[in-house]
Structure formats: C-alpha cells, structure tokens
Symmetry: C2
Amino acid sequence: MSDADRQTTGSSGHGQRVAVVGAGMAGITCTRSLVRAGRSVTLIDKARGPGGRMSTRRTEHGAIDHGAQYFTARNPRFREEVNAWIADGVVQEWHGPLATIGSDGLMMIRGDNRRFVGVPRMSALTRHLSASCKTLFNWRVARIERHGTDWWLHEERGARLGPFDLVVVAVPAPQAIPLLQGAPSLAMRARSAVLAGCYAVMLVYDERLPLPFDGAFVNRGPLSWIARNSSKPGREGAETWVLHASPDWSEAHIEEPPDQVIPMLLAAFAEAVNAKLPQPLLAVAHRWRHALPINLLEEPCLFDPELAIGACGDWCGGPRVEGAYLSGAALADLVIAHRDQPAG
Amino acid sequence: MSDADRQTTGSSGHGQRVAVVGAGMAGITCTRSLVRAGRSVTLIDKARGPGGRMSTRRTEHGAIDHGAQYFTARNPRFREEVNAWIADGVVQEWHGPLATIGSDGLMMIRGDNRRFVGVPRMSALTRHLSASCKTLFNWRVARIERHGTDWWLHEERGARLGPFDLVVVAVPAPQAIPLLQGAPSLAMRARSAVLAGCYAVMLVYDERLPLPFDGAFVNRGPLSWIARNSSKPGREGAETWVLHASPDWSEAHIEEPPDQVIPMLLAAFAEAVNAKLPQPLLAVAHRWRHALPINLLEEPCLFDPELAIGACGDWCGGPRVEGAYLSGAALADLVIAHRDQPAG
C-alpha cells in the first residue's frame, strides 16, 4: 500500500462500506439515508465543501448564491423534509416579489407558490445536512475500479481510496459517465440525460437598484433569470444580483472568457429591465457546464445491485433541488432493500 | 345571437360554468376534479377525440401509440390514481424489456422501474377518463375573450361558445400563449416554458423484427426512442413499431415533409439496431410540434383568481404524464379553494 492510498476505516462487514461521489443535494441525501440505515459512508467531492450546484460564492461584499436560486416543494416526502429544515433554522421562505420579462415588457407574478432558500446562504443548507457525514473534499475522483468485490476510487494523480463495498455516483450525468465505466449499462443509461450549461454572473452594487422585483424570469435576449440576491432572508452586506444566461446563449458562449461575457450580460441586464444601471463594484462570472437537465431519465435513480454501484441526481427521475433530493432518497431505499444481497 | 353561437346550458350560478380547453391528461384531470366539486364543465378540444399527446393512431393493421409511449408514477396521489385505473382495466404494466443504444452498442436495462400504458391502446385511458365529461370535439379555440365577468371562446371562423365564469387552458405553452391574452401576466409566464418538437414515425411489419428488446432509448444519430408498439399489453394485430426522432433532429427537420423524413428515420432505425430490416408494410409520420417540455415553469399551474382563468400542463411544475396529471389536479384544487371569491 503506497503513501497515496487511503484505507477506509471501520470495515464493519460486507456491504457496509459505501462511497458517495458528489456532495450536492442528491449525494448528501443518499449519504444521510444510508448512515441512518447503519452504513459507513464516505462522502467525497472535488470542491472545497459541499453543495454542488446549491452553492454560494463568498465575496468581500457578501455571499452570493450563483447556482440554484431557490427551491420549491411538491412531493410530500420532500415537503416534510423542508419543514424540518425550516425548524432547524437553515431554510426560510423567500418572499421577494417575482416578475416575468418578455417582449411585452415586465409583469409581476401573482400566486402563492412558496419558494425556499438556505439561510443565511444557499450553501448553509447543504453544509448543515452534511455536517454529520464523514466527508472528503478537494478530492476529484477520476476512475472507479472494481477488484474482486471491492471498489476503489482513483484520483487523477494516482491516489486511491477504498476498498468500498458499494459506490454511489451523485454528479451530473456527463461527469457520471466516465465514473460508471465499471457498470457499462449504467454508463449507457446516463448518456440519455442531457444537461444544458449556464453562464452566471454575480454583481455587487453600492446602492439599491430601483427595480420593482427581487427576481425575474426573462424570456428575451441572452438572460433567463435575474435576481436580487440580497433580498433573500438572512443575507447581509451590499446589494447583490445574480444573472443567469439562458441555456441556448450559455451553450453558444460557454467557451468564451468571463471578461468578454460579463459586459455582454451586463448590457443584457440593462436592456431586460429597460434602465440605465450603475456600474457594479464587482462582477464575477461562473460557468456551470452542466446546470439544467433538459432530458431526464425516467428512472428516479440507477442501481446495479450485483455490481453494487448506483447513480442519482436531478438528471434522473425529476428535475430541480426536489428531484435531486428524491433521487438520492430513492437510491438509498434501493440499496437498503438489497441489503442482504451479496455484492459480487 | 347567431346560428354559430352555442349557449352553455345549466347556468347554475356565478363561478359554476367552466370551460377547459384541451383534452389531454392535464385538461381531463382538471375537468374531473371540478365536476366532482359540483362545477358544470365543458371540455373542448380541436381534435376528434380526447388524449392530446396520449393518443393513438389507428391503421388498417392495428392501432399505434405515436405520442406518449408509457408513463411512470412516483407521486403518491398519482400512484393511487394509476392503481384505480388498473382496477378499472384501462391501464396495465408494460413488461417489455428495454435497452439503451449508444456509441458503445446495445445494452439491456435492468431495474424494477414500473412502466404503465393504456389498454388496449394509450388513448383508451383518456377516453375512459373523459367519458363522463361534457365534451366538445373538433372545435379549435382561436381566442378567449372577456365581456364583463363572462368568458367567451371563439373559433377561427366566428363561432363562439359561452358564457363561462372560468376558463382553464390546458394545451402546450406555445398554443396557450395566444389563448391567455385576456390575462397578460399568465401569457407572459407561459412564454418561459420551452417545448421541443418530435418527429414520430409509425411502422407496420408483416413479421416480427428479431430485436432483443421492446423499447430502446437511443443516444446516437437522429433517433431518441424506438419501441415495439405491439409488445404492449392488449395490443392485437400486426407487428408495429414507433420511432421518435430526438429533439435536436426534430427541430432541424420539423418543416420537412414525411416522404423525405420517413426514409431518413428508417435508415437511422436500421443503423441504431445494426441490422438489415425488412420493408415496412406501412410507414406513417406524425409531427409533434410541441412534444417535450425542456424548460418547465416552477409553478404546478397558473391561476388568476380575479380574472377567473388558469393554465395547466406538463410544461408547468413537472414533466411527463404524471406532471400533466398533477398540474391539472393542482389547478382544480386552486379553483375550488377560490370558490367563494368573486370572479370579476
């Protein structure tokens, strides 16, 4: 065993040692369910912390949610969970008025749809949920290899982690495909999922923008969504905004550098709201290469009980934060149901 | 009142006369819920019968489902309903083996995902569900106009239908937009939804195709789905297949005539299954211009209680047959909750 190896501890019996790759909502949910069922789970992510697309960029002027902007809750199981998160103080309802902007101009959205956000930032929710999980960050899984009935996770540069009895791949489908090479039927299935990119821009202003809404769905030009991030509950600091470019525009411009894209999206922002806007104090871009599932798998999750590997995410079953949660929960249910089945 | 007018009967009080435009799963579900709550509902569709995209083309060699191919059920409310439909004998599980076809070849899909179909054809389900509804077919609504607190539905050639106290628009978003002009905020909201087209081809063969699957998700070339329609429960007659072109391919070719498209998709079929296939006895194409929601609204449905108009469909809230059902049910719930509110 080389220095680069990490031996998983607590080999508490066959089928008990689980690796979950990807600490977004799907992976965290799956991890928590499996831990509750007595599994020893290691949650691994390439980033410095949990959250995946439910994440927040910290700036000197305050934190800005640049991925998932809020979430809704329809499924009873998920609604119950959201209520628990509210009770835990990590989620609140966002009451900011929303608008739609189209070729006809701007209209406010009425209706009683409830929108939730993590507080004091989106990433606070996933941080809270993963706090009790055994986590390994800054660790990018490049390959997952099977030796006998053991799974080993390999980093690009040669470090490996294992052995595991079962592996869960909870990353966007295009990133899941290479990790599922040990289960070709799952990898092929993941190829059916299509995710569109999203070019995001975060903005800080030294004054409140005089716009009548805190969020707007935009149906013309390069943008699809604009939001006053600082209007969400519990946010402190300066006036902050987030712009999301549309899937089509993002796909066409995803390879262009931020210094070219930011001015284009700032101009689109001013055009969408039909106003001259002040120069932002700070403008930062983020490229989500796999942001929005536009072709979902029918299955809530993928699982091969014989090979003991599965996959979950918002590209399975149902979209959005809620879909990711339900996918992770569904995979954990399947794994637990197959508990007594031999893994090899 | 001209001959072309149709007066709605049974004006049983303010807020009671409802028109539902679109007899797909969303519209039918909304209609049934409102009827149960005591409303007088007229269900209107431009086609000769109910079904929308859950429809079936009859040929001299048997009927072929050319729209929705099957459905899944995750939400408890919808699962309960599916169980009732099974008990009613209009739905059965489709056990046909499924495959995935990609650049690596063909792999069978394992897993216990349950897939349901209408029997003996997809349209039998929507026909059953709408049987007790007051329906008006072959009636294409071109405009919906408000006069005082009354809604009137206008056909292209001048016939009108009304008055109604409340209107539900249950057609795909691009068709809903012009019908929602009386409620501009709803129309603008509907513009956020994006639906991709689907070029479908129905095939009849005089022999069983020697393929190891009854349905396959295709991840390369022009096709996205191929299925042995005759493998579904209760189907009689010849060997029939359905091909669905991918969203991208369909968008690029939607204006091309069937006699050009059918040979291309037949060649893609042979290429996908890597086999020489016999000439079909019959090949019929259908263009679904708005087949697959690829950008959903967050709201399960749209409703303006003051104007007494709403919209629902698989482009709201959640995708697929299940999403359409839940959207229609959600809108009915809102309408019923606003029962005592004045409509104008």
